[in-house]
Amino acid sequence: MNRTARTVMFLVAGGGVAVLAVLAVLRMPAFGGSHHPYRDHAVRASVSHATSNVVASINFDQRGMDTLGEETILLASVVGVSVLLRPAEDESKSEHLGSGRVLDATRLGGYVLLPVTLVVGFDVVAQGHLTPGGGFQGGVVLGTGMHLLYVAGRYQALERLRPVSAFEWGEAFGAAAFACLGISSLLVTGAFLANVIPWGTFGGLLSAGTVPVLNGAVGVEVASGVMVLLAKFLEQAIFVRSGEGGTR
């Protein structure tokens, strides 16, 4: 199909979808209304499970099974990227780095921000059941934060601090920990990912049962996943050169 045919087809189909969307929107509950039946049930369940962050309660307690599925998508994507971006046979990894210059201010900024970012990342994971945050957000912060060393111009330091294979293991470990917690609670309570430890007091650091533990597992997985993804892309874009022609 050529470009014109494709566009015409899109205009017909997209126009139809747009008409249906407007018709659907006109009959939707008004934006900002107060009728949210799922919200009412979810908040009550979260409070009875001593979890002050209702979003974390839903992700890791009330519909933990779905989160396991999403984790699996994440794992599959990271594995896929690792396979697709491994250097091919006709490619060589250039060892000598182009001697780019990094401003001293940039380098200092990178070094100063690195520990701050890591502390913030751990905090976001650890407090995920109390305040906004959790394994997904904290993992992203940690995975990105480590790459501040690259901004600081120290790729060698980054390589030492970030052995990619270790984080590939971390990725697998995080996903396996989540699944194992689910299976062990299945054995103990008869329900997958049901809570097995005391709920604790509402709002306390030790509360919400297994939510903080699962947050930690997801934090490890997401941080490792982001690390592996960025590492593979950096390696391909900066170090790997194809051999002859490149095309086949």
Partner: protein, 78 residues
């Protein structure tokens, strides 16, 4: 609907359009980063701090960076 939500929605719609019409992917990476930031602002305005937090990390840093690196890889001299 408050002014802030309406303004954030409008900015998101404009920035999203800008990302789509930007012809070259290397320019897209920059507008995509801005778009991600505006989405995070919208999520804050919609009282969703959890989502805003992950959007800041993912939408303003990780995805635009990967797009930049992919563009660089594709354009590099063979």
């Amino acid at each position: 609907m408050t002014i802030i939500v309406a303004a954030a929605l409008t900015l998101v719609a404009v920035a999203g359009t800008a990302v789509v019409v930007a012809g070259r992917p290397d320019r897209q990476a920059v507008t995509l980063s801005l778009f991600g930031l505006l989405l995070a602002v919208l999520f804050m305005a919609l009282q969703a701090p959890d989502v805003a937090l992950s959007q800041i990390g993912v939408g303003t840093a990780i995805v635009p960076l990967m797009v930049m690196l992919a563009v660089r890889k594709v354009h590099q001299r063979r």
